[in-house]
């Protein structure tokens, strides 16, 4: 039990202290769903759908259930004639809160599971309660892991931010252009090589795109 106490103290020092330090005067700019959403609106009004979609997607990482973000994202995509995949019901359930909330939920689930297991091993007096704690904690961990799986493609996704992006056969500027991508289109990044990203589209076409033509949703 003394070890558990030490672990909690260590976690607080390692995991919580940096954000607290950041909040207390770190020069790094603070990102919020509202600021990213407003930035997306500004780009949409300026006729830059690629940057608008990029900022809306980033805002959605922090506030996935915000209806305004979803609405404006649909409008900009519709105007740019770019299609988007519609998430399923289970996916929508897993996107009710931000990934950070699910991360804390997973950590709490891990703590409950660990405490339940230790209690079960130490004494037989509270056996049912320990079982309930273990099941609850495991459920929390499972939900957190599922949320990570749902968000995983977004972590490797990028948005085309230029009106046209040539997709080339090789990572070289003089390479043959296979096809072109439209602004605001979302692609999956698979590799990187000397200023080019190997991207794959939703319809399973792939090729190399210059880094200047696209931006990662999660940098």
């Amino acid at each position: 039990m003394r070890l558990c106490g030490l672990a909690v103290i260590g976690f607080v020092l390692c995991g919580v202290a940096p954000p607290l330090r950041a909040a207390s005067g770190d020069p790094a700019p603070a990102l919020s769903a509202a600021s990213l959403y407003n930035e997306g609106n500004a780009y949409a009004r300026a006729g830059k759908p690629g940057l608008a979609v990029l900022n809306y997607e980033r805002a959605r990482v922090l506030a996935p259930a915000d209806p305004d973000i979803a609405a404006n994202l649909a409008i900009v995509r519709g105007a740019a004639r770019v299609s988007a995949t519609i998430p399923g019901r289970m996916t929508r359930l897993l996107l009710l809160a931000s990934p950070n909330v699910y991360a804390w939920m997973g950590l709490l689930g891990g703590v409950l599971t660990g405490a339940g297991v230790v209690a079960l091993a130490a004494t037989r007096r509270w056996r049912p309660a320990a079982f309930v704690t273990i099941v609850t904690g495991t459920l929390g961990v499972a939900i957190a892991v599922a949320n990570v799986i749902v968000w995983w493609p977004t972590l490797h996704a990028a948005v085309i931010i230029t009106p046209e992006a040539a997709v080339r056969a090789a990572p070289a500027p003089m390479s043959d252009a296979l096809f072109s991508l439209h602004e605001a289109q979302i692609v999956r990044i698979e590799a990187e090589h000397e200023g080019f990203w190997l991207v794959r589209t939703n319809d399973d076409r792939s090729g190399w795109v210059a880094v200047a033509n696209l931006a990662r949703i999660v940098p």
Partner: protein, 602 residues
């Protein structure tokens, strides 16, 4: 420089020759009605066509001008009979192939005194070895087959000709074709069906109901020609040989062909049939095979919205009316015009538009030719705005494959502005945000920016102070992962500790039981030795019990006096020859039991 001078000399010589030729043909040109040169701009290696229409039923040759650097050759003459004010008027159309020998600007004199000279511009073909240029290929219509020989049937009674504008097409591409069936009067009894394709790898649209009728002279023999226009489309890639066939009934001459020359000299079919004997015979007349290479549509660069349209198309859109009240329907129209397979021209228009109710579009096609190859397809979709304000409808786009450029293309219409006024009698209708209202950036700041979205966006949010430094989820941040790992290690250590403590307790109990069992066995052995008065066995048991008693004592404590006496006795027994305890067994046995009781493990 030399080339320029030579070119000028050539032009001057051409004009002089044309003037001389015009003087010579002035007399013969009295009956010329019209002369058309098409196209007027070609490249070296291509030919233009000069169509001369003359008055008169005779098929006498038109006196063609002689132009240096141009080769003029009559390839076809067709006779037509027209009724004008009740009087028959015969005209003859002569098609002349004009082939330049070098680049330059050539002038053909007008074939009538009042006609303007015809100018032909010939440039050097710079597309050799390159992809086919858009204009060059498009300028080559079905007429590119001018001069192709006509293959007569075996007895010369009829001919069937299939004319294609090109010999390399893509799967699904609509190719306009011309099918000509020439029937020699008096030698063809009946036409038993429409021409059909011999290959199942192509689809042939319905032939025009009424074929064009004309007359033509082939090898000095007059034919009545029926011409159908249609469109074929290949269904799979490969190299194919294409031809058409048509069932007809002919009158076959019984006399050998070598002896039938006299019959051919008799222009009137009645006289021909009287002079020569014929029998009826059903045949399938086939055209000369045409080789056609069909290419597959490339998969690279295929737009997601590509629906199979192949051709050349343009797009335009409009919204009618551009001002309406909320709840009133508006009509969004998209027009796709051009040439190609319009049956594959499709669009879902606007499937979803926020703040708008959209309905499925309807489409109509209006062809500008008889075969549906050229025309305009119109899509019309009803829209109803649910909120007043100024809105921008997104541009509509359409993707197709351009066989000339050999790549996919997407044409996009312009975005459409519309003003929606509040519905009459609806005081609850939301007022459109103005430029001075907070969050009115929906309509405010984007003026003048091309492609800017000025309508439909939801307003900005209030920004709070809190935020995160990075968008990376916590689960991928090192501090969070390290903290979680520390927690997990702590729980693992606690679990290990708990399990280890439980294991130690169990081991001690087992050791205690084993020790107790050994003491009981030693006490039993001592009691048995005392009973049998076996001092040696008694001392062995006593030594074991005394060791156990000493081990159970705390550090620094000594054995009780009786036990010390017994230990001395045991040592004496161990090292002396005679056992001294033989006489007082009960006392030593009692001492032994005491040692056993003291030596029991706790």
């Amino acid at each position: 420089m030399g080339a320029v001078i030579a070119h000028r000399f050539r032009c001057i010589a051409a004009i002089l020759c044309v003037s001389l030729g015009f003087a010579q043909s002035a007399a013969a040109a009295q009956s010329v009605l019209s002369a058309v040169l098409s196209p007027t701009q070609i490249t070296v290696g291509q030919s233009a066509e000069l169509t001369v229409k003359t008055l008169g039923a005779g098929l006498e040759a038109v006196v063609l001008p002689s132009v240096a650097g141009l080769e003029l050759r009559i390839v076809e003459q067709t006779h037509h009979l027209e009724m004008v004010h009740g009087a028959s008027l015969g005209t003859t159309t002569t098609r002349v192939r004009v082939t330049p020998l070098a680049a330059g600007v050539y002038s053909l004199p007008g074939l009538t005194p009042s006609a303007q000279p015809l100018v032909l511009r010939v440039s050097v073909d710079d597309t050799i070895g390159k992809a086919p240029a858009k204009s060059a290929t498009r300028a080559a219509p079905a007429r590119s087959s001018v001069g192709e020989p006509v293959h007569l049937s075996a007895d010369g009674a009829a001919f069937l000709r299939l004319t294609l504008p090109k010999h390399e097409v893509f799967v699904g591409e609509s190719v306009p074709v011309e099918i000509e069936l020439g029937l020699r009067p008096g030698f063809v009894n009946s036409l038993n069906g429409l021409p059909t394709l011999t290959s199942a790898d192509f689809t042939l649209n319905n032939l025009s109901r009424q074929p064009l009728r004309s007359e033509r002279v082939v090898d000095g023999v007059g034919f009545a020609v029926l011409t159908w226009h249609s469109v074929i489309a290949p269904v799979r890639p490969g190299t194919f040989t294409l031809s058409v066939e048509s069932p007809i009934t002919i009158r076959q001459r019984l006399r050998p062909e070598s002896e039938a020359k006299l019959e051919d000299q008799l222009g009137d079919p009645f006289l021909q049939n009287i002079y020569g004997k014929t029998v009826k015979k059903d045949i399938k007349l086939a055209s000369a095979p045409v080789e056609l290479e069909v290419l597959a549509l490339p998969t690279e660069g295929r737009p997601a919205t590509f629906s199979g349209a192949v051709g050349s198309f343009r797009i335009a859109s409009e919204l009618v009316p551009d001002t309406a009240a909320a709840g009133d329907p508006l009509s969004l129209r998209m027009r796709i015009s051009g040439s190609g397979n319009f049956d594959r021209v499709d669009s879902a228009m606007l499937e979803h538009l926020d703040q708008w109710k959209t309905y499925p579009p309807k489409s109509t096609f209006a062809g500008s030719d008889t075969v549906g190859y050229q025309g305009e397809k119109r899509f019309e979709q009803a829209l109803i705005a649910s909120r007043p304000g100024s809105a921008t409808l997104p541009p509509l786009s359409f993707s197709f494959f351009d066989p000339v450029a050999r790549r996919y293309a997407t044409v996009t219409s312009a975005a459409l502005q519309v003003t929606i006024t509040p519905a009459p009698g609806d005081p609850s209708a939301p007022v459109p945000p103005g430029p001075t209202t907070q969050g009115s950036s929906v309509t405010g700041s984007a003026a003048g920016s091309p492609g800017a979205m000025t309508g439909g966006l939801r307003p900005d949010h209030a920004v709070s102070e809190s935020g995160v430094r990075t968008l990376r989820p916590l689960v991928l941040q090192a501090p969070f992962l390290a903290g979680s790992a520390v927690l997990m290690v702590g729980f693992a250590a606690a679990l290990w500790r708990v399990r280890r403590g439980a294991g130690d307790a169990a081991d001690g109990e087992r050791r205690r039981l084993r020790r107790l069992s050994a003491l009981q066995r030693a006490l039993a052995a001592g009691e048995a030795a005392a009973q049998e008065q076996d001092s040696r066995a008694f001392c062995v048991a006593a030594r074991e019990l005394l060791d156990a008693q000493r081990a159970s004592l705390p550090n620094g404590h000594r054995l009780p006096p009786q036990s010390q006496e017994l230990e001395l006795l045991v040592d004496a027994q161990r090292y002396a020859a005679a056992p001294p305890i033989a006489v007082d067994w009960p006392r030593w046995l009692e001492t032994l039991r005491g040692a056993a009781g003291a030596g029991e493990p706790a």
